[in-house]
Amino acid sequence: MDSNDTRPDIIEMIGITKAFPGVVANDNINLNVKENEVLALLGENGAGKSTLMSILFGSYDADSGIIKIRGKEVEIKDPNAATALGIGMVHQHFKLIHNYTVAENIVLGYEPKKKFGLLDIAAAEKKVAQLSDQYGLKVNPKDKIEDITVGMQQRVEILKVLYRSADIIIFDEPTAVLTPQEIDELMLIIKRLKEEGKTIIIITHKLKEIKAVGERCTVLRRGKVVGTVNVADVSEEQLAEMMVGRAVKFEIEKNPPHFGDTVLSIEHISVKNTRGQMAVKDLSLDVRAGEIMGVAGVDGNGQSELLFGITGMSPLESGKILIHGKDVSKYTIRQRIEAGIGHIPEDRQKHGLVKEFTIAENIALKNYYKAPYTRNGCVLVQDAMVKKADDLIKAFDIRAGKGPFTLAGSMSGGNQQKMIIAREVDMGGDVLVIAQPTRGLGVGAIEYIRRRILSERAKGRAILLISFELDEIMNLCDRIATISKGTIVGLSNAGEITEQEIGIMMAGEKDKIAEETAK
């Protein structure tokens, strides 16, 4: 450790243990944070970082261990207590109320009052404007949350914390939903906050960002602390190895491309979202057999609605979708499945599986009504489902306690995803649309799933891959389309475009590319 660093510890977490049914999230963790430093908390999905910080913020109670703030032992039983101690948290999933204004969200719980206890919205808006200027976080107090961008929403979350005079600010996976440019802006904001005297803790699994702003980094793995390092002294590869426990291969070997004809043709489609607004506008895209077409973009630019339009879950307001030249735009969801469209959904719990069903029933979810699962047109043949599930469990190495009779809800996220992929692979079909396939999974599962996607590519399937992780897109895809505000703003071959250029397109500033490339 750096013996020249004389800053006192502002936070000490000693011997923290927290268990949930079936898993020990934090196992006797010791953590210290120095005053006015930027500490990164690194670990894979499920390593225990969020749990640890939730304990610090009072959302959870630790099973054992003590916490000291500024040298004094404290008990943090709820977020109010944490706030009183000067601790604030900027959550990964924003805790903002969509139909309230920016000002209302920021002052909620600490509302300024007029005579007789009336709510003083004018005072709230004034205070928000003042904080916004002081810290350089541009927002309009009167805007409704549902009308502003994700980057601005994050600034509202930060202002919430500053309004309550926090000295210690915890950022939970802050860059998951930002464009590359917004990420740069956030790094500047964090530096500015440090200049104003704040102590910052960043929870993340993004090595690049740790190198950008982190001073020290504590690495967690499977609930235990692996070590704490000075960021300047280590490389990304070393951090990754600490995080996972073994050397991590960043690149995956891809077969040489072997493209066939265009299989999936999306022509000028428009799709509405659940609030009735046009989320996809005049979007066109082609995918050839044996190719992976990536769609890069920030969450909320129409990706979900694009998928719903292709799979049939939302109707097309205009335009056509063609498979091998056949117009499937008016097909029902089942008809599209029969036409060969496979789907690995973004939200596996909501759209991918029925957690109260067994693996056997989930595997048959899309074709239970056909032979061999149905006899005489109406009677179920459960043995056939069980046998198929058995085969797939072995082929895909799905960890399932009771084999085909395991309830889907009892499996881990990684195994659930494997089950869904097994089903889609087994059903065959010429098209596969995939969204966020590796979200929330550990490194082992991520590697396995990416390899499976590549093997489907080798079989000649036309694959559309939508992901918010730019490195996933850059690594796996043959061509990359960028989506912004519901339409495709850029299309190029992989290897001919940089992350920066994609980032600019994501933010919707097409003209900037011309500027940049002209320089």
């Binding site: 599209r336 759209h351 069903f357 109406c378």
Partner: protein, 380 residues
């Protein structure tokens, strides 16, 4: 002491409650009876009256005078029929993820149509009663299917829609029945013999009770319920929809028609119940002024029976027992409404099932943590 130093597995009873919905149902029913007994004692009546009445109705044996009369058993079984059928009505919808409290209205419509057919269709033996029952079932199906359509297509809450349809059914029934020639303010003329479900041999077997062919129809329906849901592909789709509508939809399962079918089937069961009561328990049509309440009780039946075939059957029999015992309870100085109170308590307790399990889980964890702490302290 050895047990405080080891992390014990959950005590047998708690483990049973966590695992088995059936065990929870039994406990809940018992709790309902306990509360009712306490309530009765609280208002100064003798609770033994409840249990004597129940025994009499279950076995025919009257503890007060030591005499047997099998007519009570026959009536008890007959009373169970609409409870079981309305229970299945609720259960079928429940398996598809829907809350059908319109059983009352579907029952009324079935009853009304059965009466109408009995009094206006030609008197052909066997065919007459079969048609009446069939039409009653279909009418119930339509009344239920409408709700399903409104829900599936317009996202109208089935909870409020079914309540409205219950009242609409009530008044519609009056309008229709009064319009039949020969009807006075509360009853119609007697049904022709060909429209009745009474069978000589059953009535004789049970010493003149109202037990009729409807009982066998009910048993057949239980089998149909089980088969349809567990063994057919339509049932598979319905169950998937019930557990996770969005995932079912994404998998291509036709959710809108599933919901309509489930509500129609649900309505059919209740409608059949109404038809059987009309043609089996009564010899004339009724101009109803209030609701029979089988539909609402069906809710409790399905909840206690946990929407399964066997469970709902037994729950229906239990409630039939309670209903049949009412007049005897009244004679034993216990207000008959005690049965409604038991039903209400049972429903409230069942709704706590999730909470109860969470509580037991938390309690178990707390105990295990304390034991673990002690163990680790001992080790240092």
């Amino acid at each position: 002491m050895s047990d405080s130093n080891t992390i014990k597995k959950q005590s047998g009873f708690t483990a049973l409650l966590m695992r088995s919905d059936g065990a929870v149902s039994v406990v809940v029913v018992l709790l309902g009876f306990v509360f009712a007994t306490l309530l009765v004692m609280l208002v100064g009546r003798n609770p033994a009256g409840i249990y004597k009445a129940l025994l009499q109705v279950l076995t025919g044996f009257n503890l007060n005078n030591g005499k047997w009369n099998i007519r009570y058993v026959g009536d008890f079984l007959n009373y169970s029929v609409p409870f079981v059928l309305c229970g299945f009505s609720m259960a079928f919808a429940g398996r598809a993820g829907l809350f059908n409290i319109g059983g009352e209205g579907q029952y009324i419509i079935g009853m009304t149509v059965a009466q109408l057919v009995a009094l206006t269709f030609p008197s052909v033996s066997v065919l007459h009663v079969v048609t009446a029952v069939l039409f009653a079932t279909l009418a119930g199906a339509v009344w239920g299917g409408v709700v399903g359509y409104l829900k599936a297509r317009f996202e109208v809450s089935e909870v409020v829609a079914t309540i409205m349809l219950n009242y609409i059914a009530l008044y519609l029934s009056r309008i229709i029945t009064i319009a039949i020639p020969g009807t006075n303010t509360y009853k119609t003329v007697n049904f022709p013999e060909t429209a009745s479900l009474r069978i000589g041999f059953l009535s004789n077997l049970t010493n003149g009770s109202a037990l009729n062919a409807g009982f066998f129809l009910m048993l057949v329906c239980v089998l149909i319920y089980w088969f349809a849901l567990e063994k057919t592909n339509m049932g598979f789709g319905l169950r998937a929809t019930g557990f996770n509508k969005e995932a079912a939809r994404a998998a291509g399962i036709p959710v809108i028609s599933s919901i309509v079918i489930a509500m129609a089937a649900s309505g059919a069961y209740a409608g059949l119940g109404g038809g059987i009561v009309a043609l089996g328990s009564f010899r004339y049509g009724r101009v109803i002024s209030g609701m029979d309440n089988y539909g609402f009780t069906g809710i409790a039946v399905a909840l206690v029976g946990n929407n399964t075939a066997v469970g709902t059957l037994f729950a229906g029999l239990l409630f039939g027992l309670l209903q049949a015992a009412q007049p005897i309870m009244q004679a034993n100085n216990i207000p008959k409404e005690i049965t409604f109170i038991i039903q209400g308590l049972v429903v409230v307790f069942i709704s706590l099932k999730t909470g109860l399990r969470l509580f037991l889980q938390w309690n178990e964890k707390r105990r295990n943590n304390k034991i673990a702490e002690k163990a680790s302290e001992g080790g240092r």
